[in-house]
Subunit: 261 residues, 3 copies
């Protein structure tokens, strides 16, 4: 029962997501389909990548992840399939994959499945990606799907900027609870910190944070905190409260960590 | 693993959709359930029909489609099961089926499953339609479920009106991307056009469109276009933009195609 | 194919729900996962209990229901698994279970699965509850998961108050159609009524209701009615209309039934 997941910006109201599922079952009746999210903000490959990168590592080996955000093929954005960390990923090489992985993927194949007249916001996913996914689900090899290539399109991610005494990051995601997730990873934080005390500051003066909590309720209800959450990125949160609304934190807001002697 | 799909206006927050799924698994443990949509506007059989008609053809043969919008039985709205184009459809004959198919369905059965005290917005679906669907899913025949009838309730659909030099259609659906889908099919368009040049006009003066695009990005970003999308109906769209919002297009708005010599 | 259901306040946009599903498939590849709801109002165990109590009885025997609302463990809120009415329930004993059942559950186990550093709004669900659910799904016994306890945390539910001549209830849920569901059960209503005529009144003067309908369309379109709906609680509704909006009915509003001689 191979698992095929879907990450799209198609929403759940229309017929598009269900037509993709119909197409999968037509090709591969015993597939298990899992929705990662269909509420990715429209055309937003950065948020699609963020959502999927935090979900895929919880899936079984050999799960197949279809990314249906900006799935159009273009000369500089070929359709590709990737094998990386014992999982498969299929989508248009529009930059989403460089945001999904921190390193070059182990195997990259440029798909030779024709999609000449198929380019719109759903057809490449439904017709091309599904065909590739079902081939893999049946145990087929990536090599049959196209030719090996050695790299993917890089997209300048807003990576956190560091120097000797600080990390300057940005908010890249607001989750359902209003937690503001930054692009500062726990690994980066530890590397730069080297045991020093620190101050985390953001747009609201007087609301600096001086420690990392290990759980939301380490602080009283309605109190602000910073922690490395289920995404492994630094997030600014409020215990049983909506940090985005209450602190006015939005996507692209700057979050600075200053380290002291 | 027979597929049973659900098209309802029940929403996903409440317990209704999951209670229907529980009832299916109770009857047929190895069913594969697919949500077509649960966000059909309330009581709107026209939108339910539009969504399902564009989804069902992507499903495997013998898929069973339950329509849970206005599922109440009445003397003039019996519960029926239909076999058409190698698929099954179950619902109340409230007019939704005449909007779902362009021709009389191949086989129509009036269900004899009692639902005397069962009429509200969810019980007929959960108790009657699920029972019929699971009977079919187990390989049972339609004839066991009731008596053959020869026709379904017709409902005057807002069909596009044509004459020698024009087609006058209406917007029948706004999708998740804000594309405005009309009731003008590609077939009708070709039949009336006969190769002539044309002008597509709608409520916003000065925004006429003179050609059919084959893909959204045939025009520059933020530019308007017309195409036959994944629904095979003429739609007015904006490349990487929301046509409904930006052009003020809404359900029931008139879209006219005028053909020139 | 054991069924595992999910009731959470995590929403469907983020990666949290799909990461829970990935974790289930990793533990138990042939599980059937059913979403009860992920749109429970945040941290609202009362609404979570209401939704699940109306859904679970439609599920097959031995279905396993995970409750992922306020899943944090605390000394006075241990993680527990329950067997009751031939079904399994797993969650934090934060009071949600006393709202879910009307009587003490048949079997209660305090889970001994460690979650020391795992407490936030998703990890206990994904790591602890999934582990317990998959153990049960594989046919494992509850006793292996921890020690028997004899009671659950009681939470003062807003139970309807009765005397000889009246029942005073409150609105506890507004469903997708705007029906206002009260905490007055059909059983309680019958017990107190003893065949007498009655008046149902609520915040809008002049809109009293004097009978119980058996279906929404017992009254004309747009007319108010009272009935025992699919939840078996008294609800105030409008036939093909939104009672909450049109009558201004909200959660916690008082609904009184007065019985006459």
């Amino acid at each position: 029962m191979p698992i095929i997941t879907l990450t799209t910006d198609l929403g759940l109201k229309d017929f598009n997501v269900s037509s993709i599922k119909g197409a999968i079952y037509k090709n591969q009746p015993d597939a298990t389909i899992v929705d990662i999210s269909h509420d990715v903000p429209k055309f937003n490959i950065m948020q699609a990548a963020f959502i999927l990168r935090n979900a895929y590592r919880h899936f079984p080996k050999n799960s197949i992840h279809i990314i249906g955000v900006l799935p159009d093929e273009a000369e500089d954005k070929p359709h590709i399939a990737i094998y990386h960390q014992e999982q498969y990923f299929i989508g248009a090489d529009n930059g989403v994959f460089s945001l999904l992985f921190d390193e070059t993927p182990e195997k990259i194949i440029e798909l030779n499945i024709s999609s000449a007249l198929e380019d719109d916001f759903v057809r490449p996913t439904r017709d091309v990606f599904v065909k590739a996914a079902c081939h893999i689900a049946r145990g087929g090899t990536l090599e049959v799907l196209g030719k090996n290539v050695s790299s993917i399109n890089e997209r300048s991610i807003f990576r956190a900027v560091t120097n000797e005494t600080s990390i300057r990051g940005t908010v890249i995601y607001i989750d359902n609870f209003g937690n503001a997730v930054t692009n500062i990873t726990e690994l980066l934080f530890k590397e730069v910190r080297r045991g020093r005390p620190f101050t985390i500051s953001f747009r609201v003066p007087g609301y600096d944070i001086h420690e990392i909590s290990s759980r939301y309720n380490d602080v009283p209800t309605s109190e602000r905190l910073a922690l490395f959450g289920s995404s492994d990125f630094l997030e600014i949160a409020i215990n049983i409260g909506n940090a985005s609304e209450l602190l006015g934190l939005n996507i692209n807001d700057i979050v600075t960590v200053s380290f002291h002697k």
